[in-house]
Amino acid sequence: MTPKEAIEKLTAKFGETIAQPVEFRGEHTVAVAREKIADVCAFLKRDCTFDVLTDLSGVDNYGDDPRFEVVYHLYSLTHHCSLRLKVRVSEDDPIVDSVTGVWRTADWHEREAFDMFGIRFRNHPNLKRILMWEGYPYFPLRKDFPLAGQQAELPETAVNAGRVEAAPMLGGPFVPAIGTRSSVVREPRQVDTVVENIDRVKHPTKKEQV
């Protein structure tokens, strides 16, 4: 079965909840209505032999509405072909049905999407932070989160004695995309400077102390 046949079968079964497929560099992408994603995945696994979920990832299209996308990469070990599904999720109601019931591998992938973007997955068995620590207040891969990072309380550890010093937050040699903001206006140096100044008020450097 080719991805095209799978998409035809999908459209026959789910009708208008499946958007027009897009092809780019030989890869097929279909957008699926948010309510239907778990059903669509179960159908693709059962009837179209897409037995592997290779990857699941969040995307932040800041400024668009709906803001987020959840992207699923499916693979069929029988037919050696792949298919990409997409679900659009709004910022106000960032909830998608979990596909952990279809593929167990979705567990950590969904936790990561939650950790990085704040997209929540309904019926997920254990939706906790995975890369950041429990209690971390931000979602770092969102576009409005500065590259330099933001000050946050560090988690309490059993062995930590007193205050934990956060690492200095300075950006690297970053270059903006063509046609976007100039290197002076863009993040993160702006933010770094602000953060640096705030820090300096609290902890003056040696030079200033003298």
Binding site: S57, T105, M116, L131, M132
Partner: protein, 412 residues
Amino acid sequence: MATQHEIELMDSATRAQQATELGLRGERMIINMGPQHPSTHGVLRLVLELDGEEIVNVWPDIGYLHRGDEKIAENMTYTQFIPYTDRLDYLAPLANNVAYAYAVEKLCGIDVPPRCKYIRVICAELARISSHLLGLGAFGMDVGALTVFLYTFREREKIYDLAECICGARFTTSYTRIGGLANDMPAEFLPMLRTFLKEFPKNLDEVDKLLTRNRIFLDRTRDVGVLSKEDAIDLGVTGPILRASGVDWDIRKAHPYGGYENFEFEVPVGMVGDCYDRYLVRMEEMRQSVRILHQAIDNLPTGPWNAPEAKIVLPEKKAVLTKMEELIHHFINVTQGINAPPGEVYFSAENPKGELGFYIVSRGGGAPHRLKIRAPSFVNLQALPVMSKGHMMSDMVAILASLDFVMGECDR
């Protein structure tokens, strides 16, 4: 001074009877393994629930090496991100460089010349041998065979020498460029590689003799950490672990990229899916890599090693200093990056640890809108609880070693 108590020692039957009379139940114990435990190979923390010596449950806790590589990628040009790929699976940086370069080239729709493909195959296979050697050495060491580690590290040192010869760096290679390579291989590289290929199989046989029929090693690994075929597919496991569980799937065969269709090699597949099978699969993969390397040397094409697309590939330094056109291209490529077309691609390569995939969303311009790294170690580690439940605490060490993960890639 502490008070002293008299302890009465009874035989086990009496003790058991006493425990039943008192209604004592076996209490479960939660213990921490890592993030500094030597067998967690980096900074993995495991929370283990134990019933005596038996593992009831495991919760891997990852993220200690999270550096935000995906966020960083969104804020720099495609070429600038290449050094960051060295630091994903830092035991096989050359293979990561190759996978990333192919992913961006797929997005731009360009093809690299045959010589470049062959050199990349050589790089990827050397990286595979290097990574598996470390995996094996650490495996042996974790289950008590320290000698193996010394043997495999001697061989890895030679691969580091080869990496140094080809790109100047031993560890953080950053050898590929978008549309080509940083430089052609130097003249002394091939003789060095030939010598290595002559010595390596003999030295690998020594490791084979030390481990494959070693009674202690067999006892520690056979029927330990079994992962069934169905579980492996459901958990999305890839690479040697998937193949050890009996699934014949290798991206180099299933979707040949970068000239792998021209090479003859076999894909080893396990039968049981235990730690021993994973060990055997890796051993055989190294031998197959040697086969591929021999073919690559014998059929190495001549000609250019960079794609002809001037707007994407960095021009030769000599030309930049003498020609106007090249100077302009160099300037644009370095300051703004390549102007990638809008679109999204997913490219995956068969890395030593499994399927390393890059999902790139481009909105045009020199930096990706989103770059997701599908790290094999991240997905493979998820299978750990399934593999280790019901085993002894000491088996955990063997299971971890047979998973052969690397946290740089898992946490990104």
